[in-house]
């Protein structure tokens, strides 16, 4: 397929394709980080993860409308306000859900699957009642659309760079919180041994609530960012849920590094295959490889060392 192209053209395409892969990687990381916290640290299978993302997207929609109506001069900067509010909204809802529902189910992890699936349906219908069944159009500030011409042939989408920077920033923040803060130490202690953690004076209930809230908050930020690249409708969250679980499970549930490594390998595989094959075939092959690897290594790429 490369015959008849000059060397600079090929170079440009390969560079842009490399960026496409990196953008996909960042998208996967953003999708999966929130779930990695919740599923990895707490063992809760949160089927409503996509809906927490879409809540963030709707918050972005509301903020953009508010800015357009009341502060048109600052419209270019509304996105940052929207992301903070999306984090707060999704995080708050997450904490309420944890308090009302999830905490009663910690001893029955499989039931959380059904309960959160039900929650996702409830949230979808709530969005539909509040915002209408149709998708809403989120207007993105002009400076975030369009592309950055690096050379004559190479153009890098600006929103892609934005997503990459955001993914990097949030990963770093999550790392610091989990491994360099007192709260993170508590979370890890509760994950490893709940009874013992409680015995040494850690408020395990509060820790759980914070963990779930922060996981949902990160999902909300991801949702806000995805208004740039995807749709915002009551059921849009469903488009992300499969890929999200794929990344987290493949990476090894309890490991943040695993999540990132798995996001990288899946995104690169998919992006390269998509370039050489058709879209559906690329997906099929990626999934087959993931299934194959998980059969050989059920604990995922990176697993915590446990005493057996």
């Amino acid at each position: 397929m490369f015959s008849g192209y000059s060397l600079p053209e090929l170079g440009a395409i390969i560079t842009m394709q490399g960026f496409a892969g990196l953008i996909l990687f960042s998208v996967f990381v953003l999708m999966a980080l929130g779930l990695a916290i919740i599923f990895g640290q707490m063992g809760v299978i949160n089927m409503a993860h996509g809906e927490f993302m879409i809540l963030g997207a709707y918050v972005t929609y509301l903020v953009s409308n508010a800015f357009a109506a009341y502060m048109p001069a600052l419209f270019g900067a509304y996105f940052f306000v929207a992301m903070v509010l999306a984090f707060c909204a999704s995080g708050l809802l997450g904490m309420i859900v944890e308090w009302a529902m999830i905490r009663h189910l910690y001893k029955r992890p499989l039931d959380t699957l059904l309960a959160t699936w039900g929650l996702s349906l409830i949230l979808q219908q709530t969005f539909r009642s509040l915002f209408g069944a149709r998708e809403v159009g989120v207007t993105i500030p002009q400076w975030m659309m369009g592309s950055l011409p690096v050379t004559d042939l190479i153009e890098i989408p600006i929103n892609g760079i934005f997503v990459m920077v955001l993914a990097l920033g949030i990963s770093a923040a999550v790392y610091v919180m989990m491994y360099r803060s007192a709260w993170g130490r508590q979370v890890r202690a509760v994950t490893q041994n709940r009874v013992m953690a409680g015995a040494v004076g850690i408020d395990t209930e509060r820790t759980d609530r914070m963990t779930f809230g922060i996981g949902c908050g990160v999902a909300g930020v991801a949702g806000a960012a995805f208004t740039m690249i995807g749709s915002t409708g009551p059921t849009s969250g469903q488009a992300y849920i499969v890929d999200t679980f794929l990344v987290v499970v493949f990476g090894g549930a309890a490991s943040l590094l695993g999540t990132i490594a798995s996001a990288f390998s899946i995104s690169q595989a998919q992006s390269i295959l998509e370039f050489f094959l058709s879209g559906s075939m690329a997906k099929v092959i990626t999934l087959l490889v993931v299934v194959g690897i998980l059969m050989l290594r059920p604990q995922g790429l990176f697993a915590m060392k446990l005493r057996k």
Partner: protein, 421 residues
Amino acid sequence: MADQKKVPISPISRRAILAGGAALGASLFLPKGLRAQDFPTDQINTTGLAVTDDTVQVGILHSISGTMSISETGSVQAEKLAIEQINAQGGVLGRKIETIQEDGASDWPTFAEKARKLLVNDKVASVMGCWTSASRKAVLPVFEQHNGMLYYPTFYEGLEESPNVIYTGQEATQQIIAGLDWVAREKGAESFYLLGSDYIWPRTSNKIARKHIEDKLGGKVVGEEYYPLGHTQFNSVINKIRLKKPDVIYAIVVGGSNVAFYKQLKAAGIDMTEEAPLLLTISVTEDEIRGIGGENIEGAYACMKYFQSLENENNQEFVAAFKEMWGDDMVIGDVTQAAYLGPWLWKAAVEKAGSFDVDKVREASPGIELASAPEGYVKIHENHHLWSKTRVGHALADGQYEVVFETADLVEPDPFPEGYQ
């Protein structure tokens, strides 16, 4: 009943009468103050449908919850508007239409179950409904078994011709061929990149498009590929399109993927207003643009039979009535307009047959003309599809299309196109 004659005839029906009168023979079955007592119930309803001396029941079967509610909401609104207007004119054979609405819930077995409920329990005289091909295929056996009549509004892939369905949207060849001819003739397009969501309609449509491009236009297809429904990452295919440099991107992407595709296309620096490459789609109506954002699709071309901006009196009245009923911020897409035709076509067929019996309505249907259609004149073909014009629209930043081309004649529906299989 006597006071019914005093009901002022709305402007639409007056036009329908005038236009119908102008069209030879059409006036025979148009309303001339039809009164219920002229049509005794036991004579016009011999099969036990839900028809009384002053009412008739009609079913509406769309998804108002689940994924597809995004698309199907507009159809429900259009059908309710049409029924309300028909009732304001005195109903059908002097009988007011009462609607029974069921929710297909975006789930195909649910569609079949609800169709059975409407036909067997409620005994509705006809059903306006379905949107996706999958839901239509699911209810088809039910309609054929219980001899119901379905008015189906969506443009679809063709390859079907059921005696129990009237297809008010275009089948694939009607929608595709005129657009490809136009882009080859007016824009000198020679190479095409076909792209679609991965299910039956885009695949069948692209098959027809490829045959037409290669055999009739002498052009070249430089790429054809499909992405799973709900796919949100199109950067790789955008790079491929850059590499292949086609004259035209022929896109049949649907649902949420649409939004992702057009936003990423714009972000990748492909400015559609420059038309290099030109983008031609058959899957983006004004309804979808609300989600995509007009600024992200400005400059693209769409090929279908109806655009909200059509300039004729029927359409202006239709748009005004629709907005009055459902709100000023509403937009109307191709399928919404096709759904609006359903109740009117059924009314015309019932009045031509002088009976609600499904067999007689079916017999009367071919040849039914509707001069009051917002898209202009339409006529039912022997194969239960509509003769209709095909148009090309140019997307504007405000989310509307500007009509840049319209076929001179009505395009004949051809659900089983020879040479395209």
